[in-house]
Amino acid sequence: MKFILNTGRTIRQGKYIENKLGQGYAEETSLCRIHPLDLLELGVEEGENILVKSEIGEIVLEVLADEGLPKGMVFISYGIHCNSIISPRTHGTGMPDYKIHEVEIFPTSEQRKTPTEILEQLGGVRYAGN
């Protein structure tokens, strides 16, 4: 099913901003909020995983029902998960389409990745601490 991807701030995402390697941040930024009726149509239940695909790439997220959203729109808090599927085109303004990206969503049995795992996949090296 096709959706408009909206990204933004959530208070939990803000709370973990200085601890982005922790579990709280990883969980919050990999949640995809979606209208309960859209969930029904997708045949997915709250807490299950979905695959979100855009022209840029794809990412696995966990769904959370949110009646505040209009049908046809999904919301993900700012973070590396949503940015994995956002295009860098800015239409001459410097600003990518963080709020109006078209995506397609499918049910999946794949697991979510943590931000560190995504970075390691990109070739990043985790610092173990001192």
């Binding site: 408009i4 909206n6 933004g8 701030r9 959530t10 208070i11 803000g14 709370k15 973990y16 901003i17 200085e18 601890n19 982005k20 390697l21 840029i56 790439g57 949110d66 009646e67 505040g68 959203l69 209009p70 729109m73 919301f75 700012y78 973070g79 590396i80 940015n83 994995s84 599927i85 956002i86 295009s87 860098p88 085109r89 800015t90 239409h91 001459g92 303004t93 410097g94 600003m95 990518p96 389409d97 963080y98 709020k99 109006i100 931000p115 560190t116 970075l119 390691e120 990109l122 070739g123 990043g124 090296v125 985790r126 610092y127 173990a128 601490g129 001192n130």
Partner: protein, 430 residues
């Protein structure tokens, strides 16, 4: 436990200056008056203990002297460095950054380009009918939040300045102050509004134009519904705005990131202009980082441009869409990067993050962030507002001194940047 009062919270553009901190054995153990986010910032742990450098794909610990030398090598080796971030540091450090960029001939950009950059473009076109948050608190009997969600992003905005704040010139502000929320989703903020306008995604421009048409006596032209909003509701809202004594429109990245980008903001400013023919109305962008406004101020005084300033021609120029960080990275144009007080790996589209990975990159940040794994060098610094002080600009443009509560031994951003800058001058024989 030692109590320190009237501290400033260095997290969001509200810059709350009434925070009380409890200190025990040289660390902050409690906060009072902070919101959840500010509290987490003050109690933040896991700071990097010393500079780290990636050598042959592995991290090693290095000294500050070695880190300064390595940073100078990376920056002076580059033909087109990008110095990005700046919104989470103090104005004094931003000044050093501009000087540094001048001798490097690179591009200096702040997180503005991915938050309210479009608002600045609109303000440059039609001006800024702004006022201080104090004016709003004490006078505004109507507050509009458009494309923003303060309950989640600026948690104390409503209690300090609007909905739940007392107003000196208002009788019973709590009851009489009306709040309108305009958004594409019904957020927590929308739930506490007197009037909620839910518009279809990308419909802001049309709704703003319709309100302006109604205010100019052209209601006949408006169809029964505009971007999902009924004409009846538009008429009612236009009337509420027209008949208030002092209206304040706050808007967020819901306007700047949506379809229309800076043209949405331009239309909002012109709506405020139209409203000023009937009553007093002002407009304020809800700035995110605690000193992102300061980065715009400092860059403007020093270069003439508020963000995305390019020095490759020897003199400063700026062209958002070309010299902005996202575009420079997406075009794979820069060949080294210094990232300070921000975390682009967490907030930039993947293609830009891949470019950051592929070039030498220095991160200056007290904490490990998502940018750390991609960096070649990270230099830990003091946190302004905790173990360093400096100037910051609140979202309404008021400069506030952010204080220091303790001495941790970490160098401040200004200190570390000055060391890198001076070494650069030395190497270049300047």
């Amino acid at each position: 436990m030692q109590e320190i009062k009237d501290m400033v919270c260095p997290f969001c553009g509200c810059l709350c200056d009434d925070v009380t901190l409890g200190i025990e054995n040289g660390s902050i153990v409690s906060t009072d008056n902070c919101c959840t986010i500010g509290n987490a910032k003050f109690l933040g742990k896991n700071r990097l203990k010393n500079p780290i450098q990636k050598v042959d794909g592995k991290w090693i610990d290095i000294t500050y002297d070695e880190a300064v030398d390595a940073a100078v090598d990376i920056l002076l080796d580059a033909d087109r460095p990008l110095l990005f971030g700046w919104s989470g540091t103090h104005g004094e450090a931003q000044c050093v950054g501009v000087h540094m960029n001048e001798i490097l001939g690179g591009v200096i950009d702040s997180t503005t380009s991915v938050c309210h950059g479009p608002s600045i473009l609109a303000i440059q076109e039609v001006g800024h009918p702004g006022c201080t948050l104090g004016q709003v608190k004490n006078r505004a009997d109507l507050v509009i939040y458009w494309g923003c969600n303060p309950i989640e992003a600026h948690p104390r905005h409503m209690s300090r300045y609007t909905t739940y704040a007392d107003g000196y010139f208002l009788d019973n502000a709590f009851r009489n102050r009306k709040v309108i929320v305009v958004d594409v989703r019904e957020t927590e903020t929308a739930k506490v509004a007197d009037e909620f306008i839910q518009i279809k995604s990308g419909g802001d421009y049309a709704v703003l134009s319709s309100l302006r048409a109604i205010l100019r006596g052209k209601a006949d032209m408006i169809p029964a519904s505009v971007a999902g909003v009924s004409k009846t509701q538009l008429m009612q809202v236009a009337e509420m705005c027209k008949t208030c004594s002092f209206g304040a429109l706050f808007f967020g990245v819901g306007l700047t990131m949506a379809k229309g980008k800076y043209k949405n903001v331009r239309n909002a400013i012109e709506l405020v202009d139209d409203l000023n023919r009937h009553t007093k109305f002002t407009l304020t962008p809800m700035r995110g980082h605690w000193n992102v406004y300061g980065a715009n101020e400092v860059f403007s005084w020093m270069t003439g441009y508020p963000f995305a300033v390019d020095f490759c021609r020897g003199v400063a120029f700026y062209n958002p869409g070309e010299t902005t960080a996202i575009d420079i990275l997406a075009r794979k144009e820069c060949d080294a990067c210094m990232i300070i007080a921000s975390d682009p790996a967490a907030h930039f589209p993947r293609a830009c993050v891949e470019q950051i990975r592929d070039i030498p990159m220095i991160a200056i940040d007290p904490f490990q962030s998502l940018t750390t794994p991609l960096a070649d060098l990270q230099i830990p610094v003091a946190v302004t507002g905790i173990d360093a002080e400096g100037t910051a600009y609140r979202m309404d443009g008021i400069p506030i001194k952010v204080k220091k509560v303790m001495d941790s031994g970490y160098p401040s951003d200004t200190e570390i940047l000055t060391r890198i800058y001076q070494k650069m001058l030395e190497v270049k024989g300047l």
